[in-house]
């Protein structure tokens, strides 16, 4: 297997107790109008930890990770990433986002740019690399997700699985210390799902911190250190993966697992 050797990220990813947790949410609340999407959520992710969030749709999983990178603004509570508080100030938002990579359900590649240009775009504009430098980094990550041979094509010319792998490479190019995945395989055909999950497993082996919203319970079992079950905006149960699947304590999780497994 081609293991993804992660180039030294912005902060160390070892589980050093002296380091602040990679992600720490305290008493987080989020409303969409009258709808209470997140209710007093407390959530912590240690460095190098792989956490899978699962639960029925509308349970707040996506809202939770979108609050971490400020795609949604939380209404109360605090968000810390690597010890940095996420406030409404643009500078704080940028500092926190610098730590995070995000992979979306719908890929969100830029359709009018080639695969290579998609990957070099942020390197050139946000990190001010020269084009040759940026292309060097981009090709390295495209090779790691097995799409280097498609570098000159446009996203629409690729399969869904290839597009999602490009999206992963594009996020990795910025060398984040935490990767957030928002249902990365939900829009894919079964064949492509496997190719994306394999890349995610390779990535997990590099020691990067990962938070994944996914319905792929097989992936959760194989890769996650800890699984979190959410329902109606609350974390109902969380446990180390083995215990989560073998001995769920809450009746709601037991019912959920019976349905999905």
């Amino acid at each position: 297997m081609n293991a993804i050797a992660h180039v030294s990220p912005v902060v160390a990813t070892s589980a050093d107790p002296a380091l602040p947790p990679a992600i720490s949410l305290r008493k987080l609340n989020k409303y969409y109008g009258a709808f209470h999407a997140l209710r007093d959520v407390d959530f912590e992710v240690a460095n190098s930890e792989i956490v899978v969030l699962c639960g029925p749709s509308g349970s707040g999983k996506s809202s939770l990770i979108r609050c971490i990178n400020h795609l949604e603004q939380h209404d109360s509570g605090t968000v810390h990433v690597n010890g940095m508080e996420l406030t409404r100030k643009a500078a704080d938002v940028a500092r926190v986002r610098r730590q995070l990579g995000m992979v979306f359900q719908g890929f969100n590649l830029f359709p009018h740019m080639t695969v290579l240009a998609n990957c070099t775009f942020a390197l050139r504009l946000a990190l001010h690399m020269t084009t040759p430098q940026a292309e060097g980094v981009a090709r390295e990550y495209l090779a790691k997700v097995n799409v280097l041979d498609q570098a000159e094509k446009f996203p629409a010319e690729l399969s869904g699985g290839q597009q999602q792998r490009v999206a992963i490479a594009r996020a990795l190019c910025l060398q984040p210390s935490v990767m957030l995945f928002d249902e990365p395989t939900s829009a894919l055909d079964p064949e492509s799902v496997g190719s994306v999950l394999r890349i995610m497993e390779d990535l997990a082996a590099t020691g990067i911190t990962m938070v994944c919203v996914t319905h792929e319970m097989g992936f959760a079992r194989r890769v996650a250190h800890r699984c979190v079950f959410m329902e109606k905006g609350e974390i109902v149960e969380q446990a180390p993966t083995d215990q989560f699947f073998r001995k769920p304590t809450s009746s709601r999780l037991q019912r959920f697992l019976k349905q999905v497994l």
């Binding site: 795609l71 940028a94 986002r97 969100n108 009018h112 775009f121 942020a122 504009l125 446009f154 629409a156």
Partner: protein, 237 residues
Amino acid sequence: MPLMGFVQQIGTGALVTIQVAVLAYLLALLIGTLFALATLKRRLVVNIAWQTYASIFTGVPSLLVAFLFYYAGSGIISSVLSLAGLNVTIDISPFMAAVAALGMVYGAYLADLIRSAIQNVPPGQFEATKVLLIPRPAAWVLVILPQVLRLALPGMTNMWIVVLKDTALISLIGLKEIMAYAKLASGVTKEPFIYYLLASAFFLGMTALTYFVSQRIEQWTRRGYRPVAVKGPAHAL
């Protein structure tokens, strides 16, 4: 046979027509873009200003707007300036009135077109630029604008042709453009057919050129897009 002197005059008129149309269209693009961006979010004051603007300039025929600007524009501008304590009179030429009238009328139409194009760019595109830390101006120019262009271009091309053809009306405020010279030549030579035909040929030629250029731009903005289906939208019929 048309007389060369008149043909030359019609040529000069054609140049004026192009100048008016291009300047009016640029003004319309500017006004349209500003209103489109300002009305993306619901804001009461901006919305009232926009509703007022749109109902006036889409409601009143463009020829009437040109008449108003030409005959009353100078008075309106000096009274506005006198409020600011300035005592100057600015003469409004037919050229200025024509550009302002067409620009402001078609700006109102372009604003709707551009706003709906922006709203049809998937929200995920904006989110991707945010999480990739792309500075906002670069995100708008390099990510959103090309996609807005792709969506708005057919409508923008049509609007340009309408602006171009509307300049023919403006001869009525005394602008010496192609219609004015064609009319003059027909009156003098008593051969209206030939000179009006020449003017028509000019407009046809400009329209053909427009479609040629817009197809090139469209090909560029469509780079990376696949047709919806092999047969195109016709498969739904």
